[in-house]
């Protein structure tokens, strides 16, 4: 994959079809990959990488990049293409200034998950069938690939590319996903249990804003939480209320636009399952207003910009589920 991508990128650069490439750059270790922009064949050869740890979704960078001169080549994984499409639909990305190559993704790994198994001093990670061979400062370790899989890839919703100019690797299908299982599990708890679950999770929040800043749906020029005039600007979780407020409003502001790319949970330094808030909205939208997948196309109306005269009433919330 990586070689094919580099050679195609070099070709497009040489042809002048694009003047830069957005992809991923090697780090110090096996796993610390940084999204980066490459402008020459030399840079690509030296630093471009596409492997098990290139999970960062680069579509949000295109908001800024496609405003610049010249065309940029973007490598997008299937889930990234949904975010991309959604941004195109919201006129945040200038589609004319980007050349998209869809790339196959077999799921990405999360170094944090390896570390949480007590494996430390990671020097190298190799996939060997169903197992990971991990070279560490303290000797060789193995663990099942499935256990190191990034949370966002565990319940993959689709291996299909919804936007691309060309493909490298296979295009997949929308997968029958079990992504709402955890949401359902929570819904079936009692209110007290749900409350305790979320208090435990949200009280970890350090308000670093990583979830917001990485989110491809959060592209406001000025966020309401940064605006002193909004009345709710809160820089720190000074009270449990503010933790709730931030997470409810953040999720609400992307409701109907969140493609469930899972970046929010991936970047959370405190491992809060933020995606479970977004998924709740997605699940509700699906059940109240019909199946909707944000980013699947660039034409449909967003559920919160739309209505039907016979929509359910808000009292539906009171009528179902566990009290």
């Amino acid at each position: 994959m990586q070689e094919a991508m580099i050679s195609r990128a070099k070709q497009l650069l040489a042809d002048g079809a694009v003047n830069r490439v957005i992809g991923w750059k090697k780090g110090e270790f096996a796993y610390d990959i940084t999204p980066a922009i490459f402008e020459s064949a030399e840079e690509l050869d030296a630093e471009f990488v596409y492997d098990d740890f290139t999970s960062a979704n680069v579509s949000k960078y295109l908001v800024k990049e496609t405003k610049k001169d010249g065309k940029i080549l973007a490598f997008l994984k299937p889930c990234d293409t949904y975010s991309f499409n959604q941004l195109v639909k919201e006129h945040r990305i200038n589609r004319d200034n980007v050349y998209v190559i869809g790339i196959q993704s077999d799921g990405k790994l999360d170094a944090e998950k390896i570390k949480s198994k007590g494996i430390s001093g990671i020097l190298g990670v190799k996939r060997n069938g169903e197992n990971l061979e991990i070279e560490t400062l303290y000797g060789q370790e193995t663990m099942p690939v499935a256990e190191a899989m990034s949370t966002k890839c565990l319940n993959c919703k689709s291996k299909k590319h919804v936007a691309y100019d060309e493909l490298i690797g296979e295009d997949g299908e929308v997968t029958a996903s079990d992504r709402f299982d955890m949401v359902e599990k929570l819904e079936n708890m009692t209110a007290q249990e749900r409350y305790d679950f979320w208090r435990n999770e949200l009280s970890k929040c350090i308000r670093c804003n990583a979830c917001r800043n990485v989110c491809p749906a959060c592209t406001c020029e000025k966020c309401v939480f940064d605006n002193p005039a909004s009345g709710i600007e809160n820089k720190a979780p000074a009270d449990s209320f503010e933790e709730n407020m931030f997470h409810i409003i953040r999720a609400f502001h992307v409701a109907g636009r969140c493609t469930d790319c899972g970046e929010c949970s991936r970047v959370c330094p405190q491992n809060i399952p933020i995606h479970l808030l977004n998924r709740k909205f997605i699940k509700d939208i699906n059940s109240f207003y019909g199946e909707y997948q944000a980013g699947a196309d660039t034409t449909s109306k967003a559920p919160l910009n739309d209505y039907k005269q016979d929509d359910c009433e808000a009292s539906i919330v009171h009528e179902r589920g566990v009290e």
Partner: protein, 339 residues
């Protein structure tokens, strides 16, 4: 050296916790660890380090500074400060222990920050030597020896026993308070453990990181480097690095109107945020390039310039594992290094 068998460590914790509040690193459900108030039966985490740094104990993320009552045109200032209770933080690693020295230089320099000092005076830090450093560790680069941690008292673990030594009066008082549980022990095995750890420390992937290209005297050339633009390109402008950092000390002061008075509180702030330097008439750091540069210049240039060459980083490696885009101080140092 004084020691206690590892299987008796619970009795040590209980004895301490009886007299004052004790915090130890404990495991969370997600595998990460964090400092928790000790309760009987709680197990100390075997993780190398806590997810959040130990700076919270002295410089919490939010704290109330002062209250105001407003009546008509009058204001009443209410000093809400209270003497802190005595507490012990157990199991602090060498990197975090050094971070207090750095924070002290900021908060205890004139004019002394009474909020910080209050907690500092009442807190005892018991450090724990590392035996299994991670690939992200680079404390040695800043002259920290992970096998000889600072703090009020230091502990070592040789696999069987916990050895403890006081470094100052506060540490001695701590040891005296539990002396009935301690006995003299032979350090032969411990010395072996230390030697082993030292060997690993020397082989860490970042052990050879050089600070030669940094320091107060390189201010202008580093500031003008053209590499900042490229380095900051992927930065999301979030505050993760700042908030997990044990030495980041910038703060914001804000007022909260509760409806029955005003609370003025301070909270951690991040130089990575767009509003950090924003004024009514403009912003001297308009793009992420300037903000990103500020963070690393502060740690590698400005801080040493004002503090006899001491760097504002302790090499704990938290930002290396937590940055959403893995852009961190090590990559910055390597990129800016003059070879």
């Amino acid at each position: 050296m004084l020691k206690i068998a590892l299987d008796k460590i619970d009795s040590l914790f209980s004895a301490v916790a009886e007299k004052q509040t004790l915090y130890i690193p404990a495991d969370r459900a997600d595998g990460a660890s964090e400092y928790k108030k000790y309760e009987n039966g709680m197990k100390m985490s075997s993780n190398l380090n806590t997810l959040r740094s130990a700076k919270d104990f002295f410089f919490p993320q939010t704290e109330n500074l002062v209250d105001f009552k407003m009546e008509g045109k009058n204001i009443e200032v209410i000093d809400i400060r209270e003497e802190s209770e005595d507490f012990v933080v157990f199991g602090v690693r060498a990197c975090d222990a050094r971070s207090f020295t750095i924070l002290d230089k900021v908060f205890l320099s004139d004019p002394v920050d009474s909020y910080y000092k209050n907690r500092r005076d009442h807190g005892t830090i018991v450090t724990m030597a590392c035996s299994k450093p991670a690939e992200t560790c680079f404390c040695g680069v800043f002259g920290i020896d992970a096998t000889e941690p600072e703090g009020d008292a230091s502990c070592w673990n040789d696999g069987e026993s916990l050895f403890i030594k006081a470094n100052n009066e506060k540490g001695q008082a701590f040891i005296d308070s539990v002396s009935s549980l301690l006995q003299d022990g032979d350090t032969a095995k411990l010395d072996e453990t230390k030697a082993k750890t030292k060997e690993i420390l020397s082989k860490l992937p970042l052990a050879n990181l050089s600070t030669d290209s940094f320091g107060g005297d390189k201010l202008n050339e580093l500031f003008r480097s053209e590499k900042w633009a490229e380095l900051s390109e992927s930065c999301l402008g979030c505050g993760t690095c700042t908030f997990v950092c044990p030495t980041c000390q910038c703060y914001d002061i804000k007022d909260f109107n509760t409806g029955n008075g005003i609370k003025r509180f301070r909270c951690w702030d991040s130089c990575m945020y767009s509003d950090f330097t924003k004024m009514a008439h403009g912003n001297p750091r308009l793009t992420q390039v300037e903000r990103f540069r500020q963070r690393f210049m502060h740690k590698l240039v400005y801080f040493p310039a004002n503090n006899n060459g001491e760097f504002g980083c302790v090499g704990c490696g938290r930002c290396l594992s937590k940055c959403p885009v893995s852009m961190n101080i090590v990559k910055v140092m390597k990129a800016l290094e003059v070879k």
